[in-house]
Symmetry: C2
Subunit: 84 residues, 2 copies
């Protein structure tokens, strides 16, 4: 079970590219996906795939490798709770 409050503390880095609402007003122009309001289990799966190298984006692989399994649950719980 993900902890939204814990997740909120972990997503500061995400905002650098993804422009998470509440952290930044401007949505970035380069083609990173919108993650606020994304499906919780989809986020969990994507981060595990990056962590395992099954998804190949270098920045995201590095980010995911810095997250524990609980961190991934928490990040997904927080991001999926944001405005849809």
């Amino acid at each position: 079970e993900g902890d939204k409050a814990a997740g909120r503390k972990l997503i500061y880095t995400c905002n650098g590219c993804h422009g998470v609402p509440g952290y930044a007003n401007a949505y970035p122009n380069y083609p990173v996906p919108r993650i606020a309001g994304q499906n919780e289990q989809y986020i969990v799966n994507a981060l595990h795939e990056y962590k395992a190298g099954e998804r190949k984006h270098p920045t995201m692989m590095a980010q995911a490798q810095s997250l524990s399994d609980q961190d991934i649950q928490d990040v997904a719980a927080y991001l999926s709770s944001l405005a849809k």
Copy 2:
């Protein structure tokens, strides 16, 4: 340049799994990504990657192969215009 009106006609199939707002009320419980309001260029890139087999999801590869380059622009223009 994508044509939103043309894109709207193409996304009927997407809704079966992705639950696009306006086509369905319930967001699906299985872990497909939310695509309404997604970054336009990210959608374009993802569909081209599926079409080329660089992304491997079988259903999405088949769907993307049914779309022309213009169709992909149109779908991305429409989906990215939806409520964020």
